[in-house]
Subunit: 303 residues, 2 copies
């Protein structure tokens, strides 16, 4: 199957207690597609400005990411600046310059319209719907969102969710979207908006997957050194959706494995700034860490 | 093997967003021993005042808890008053009246001195050492503590930890005790104080068990209705230590099962005020929920 992603390609400037990086490659679609590229071919939809260097496009191509849908236009590329305090749990946004993203009207190349799996990264829910509408017959649509759209464009977001099968959301945002403090109740409420599967990201505490009446709790990998959490959510979603597309089925067992694959990819991502750690992973590193997740959460039946 | 616990027996007054309860049976040793009683015989060391009704003692006896070490003295029983806000994650202490606990000098009955497993609930670290010193040849000593002792009696606590094999502590307290924000580093630091096994409680996010070079991540049960978290930590420790004592070995596999058993017991405890839910559990309810934990955290190997 084929995986399409729409989202941002950006320059990030990030400061953490361990150092800083300026104008490095970032953006939700970049992290997502790099992570997913280890499992399947990815078709990228995004926009960059004329300040975007060829070397970054060459990098994406080197990961076999299809950039036919990466529009290059006059102006500056989307820029984000943020910092993390010592606990590294939440980014504080210092600056957001939408630049060329402000007037972005995604238009899918003909070759993209047959995509079977679609991921709508965290962008304006109006744009998310525009992209879904251009895909002929998607078999599975997944989406991410954030507090900014929940508070600013709630009605549009609810409309988008009618087209979504899997929603990725963090715990605070699930509570904000539904007004329910309890995550079990929040997940059930979100199901009533459309998505059948809810993936609640809890940062250093792992992930809860709600699917039908079943709940899966995936642990997070307790890393000794976390350098930069930027992109962890998108890297998670990339591993999840990339694995799912490769597997070609959406069963409970596959969804659970996808959750752990996503967690594995995110655990690598936070070990270094930008895409430094995930840009050149080896398959055996991914498989080895998956086994460590398995070992970490294993316990025997009660005798 | 035999399990001894020293801790508080108290009257609690608790207010949550779902209701309140006044002067109900509480205290760390009460929750611990009730929870442990489902797996092994428990010997209780604590003090109560002359206001403590026989019915509560009869209840403890009905759970086959040995109360030879429960001293009854002139004065009032320890009282605690607290409340929880909507997220139910942290108790706000409104009143603490130590009463008869203030001058408590635990003295073990002869019949207790042969105890093989000892649990030092969250009390003054000086008292914790006094109790350990009276046990002839303990095979395993476990302890709990809290922010109050970490900030107020750090040196004494560090002395106690030299005698401790397993430390139960929550994540914020592990950070406070060690000055390390990262839990992997905090656990390693605590190992240098004495304990070989560190059990880090993370409330609704589950438990991390550090043992040698291995890490076990146990999920928390995502409950739809949490009524009263009071005693959850002690109920967890009671299930953990009760199971361990019953199993009679302290291997990694047993420690992991004990962690899940503790989580199972804690998940029942928070479903009602005081001991209402855990005072009359059936074995099959415990086994059933253990299986649900297993199902909740299961995922297949990568194909």
């Amino acid at each position: 199957m084929s995986l399409l992603v729409v989202g941002s390609v950006a320059f990030d400037s990030v400061k953490t207690p361990f150092g800083q990086a300026d104008d490095v490659l970032g953006g939700s679609a970049t992290y997502f597609s790099t992570s997913a590229s280890y499992f399947t071919d990815v078709r990228l939809v995004a926009v960059v400005g004329d300040d975007f260097p060829d070397k970054h496009i060459d990098f994406l191509k080197s990961k076999k990411i299809d950039v036919a849908g990466l529009e290059r236009t006059t102006g500056k590329t989307f820029r984000w600046k943020g910092q993390y305090s010592f606990d590294l749990n939440e980014a504080q946004t210092l600056e957001t310059h939408l630049n060329v993203f402000q007037s972005f009207k995604p238009k899918l190349p003909e070759s993209y319209k047959s995509s079977e799996v679609v991921f709508l990264a965290n962008i304006d829910p109006d744009l998310q719907r525009e992209v879904v509408g251009q895909v002929n017959a998607p078999k599975l649509v997944a989406a991410d969102t954030m507090n900014f759209w929940i508070s600013g464009k709630r009605d549009s977001l609810i409309k988008t969710l009618k087209h979504v099968d899997i929603l990725f959301i963090n715990d605070a945002e699930a509570r904000q979207l539904t007004g329910k403090a309890n995550l079990v109740k929040a997940a059930r409420e979100i199901v009533s908006y459309g998505p059948k599967t809810i993936v609640i990201k809890r940062g250093e505490y792992g992930v809860l997957l709600f699917h039908g009446t079943s709940v899966f709790s995936a642990p997070a990998y307790p890393l000794e050194d976390v350098f930069d959490p930027t992109g962890a959510g998108d890297t998670f979603a990339g591993g999840f959706m990339g694995y799912l597309t490769w597997a070609g089925d959406f069963s409970e067992a596959t969804l659970r494995r996808a959750t752990v694959v996503g967690s594995v990819m995110a655990s690598f991502n936070v070990e270094a700034f930008s895409l430094e750690r995930i840009k050149a992973l080896e398959d055996r590193e991914i498989k080895h860490r998956y086994k460590e997740f398995k070992r970490m959460s294993h316990f025997e039946d009660l005798g």
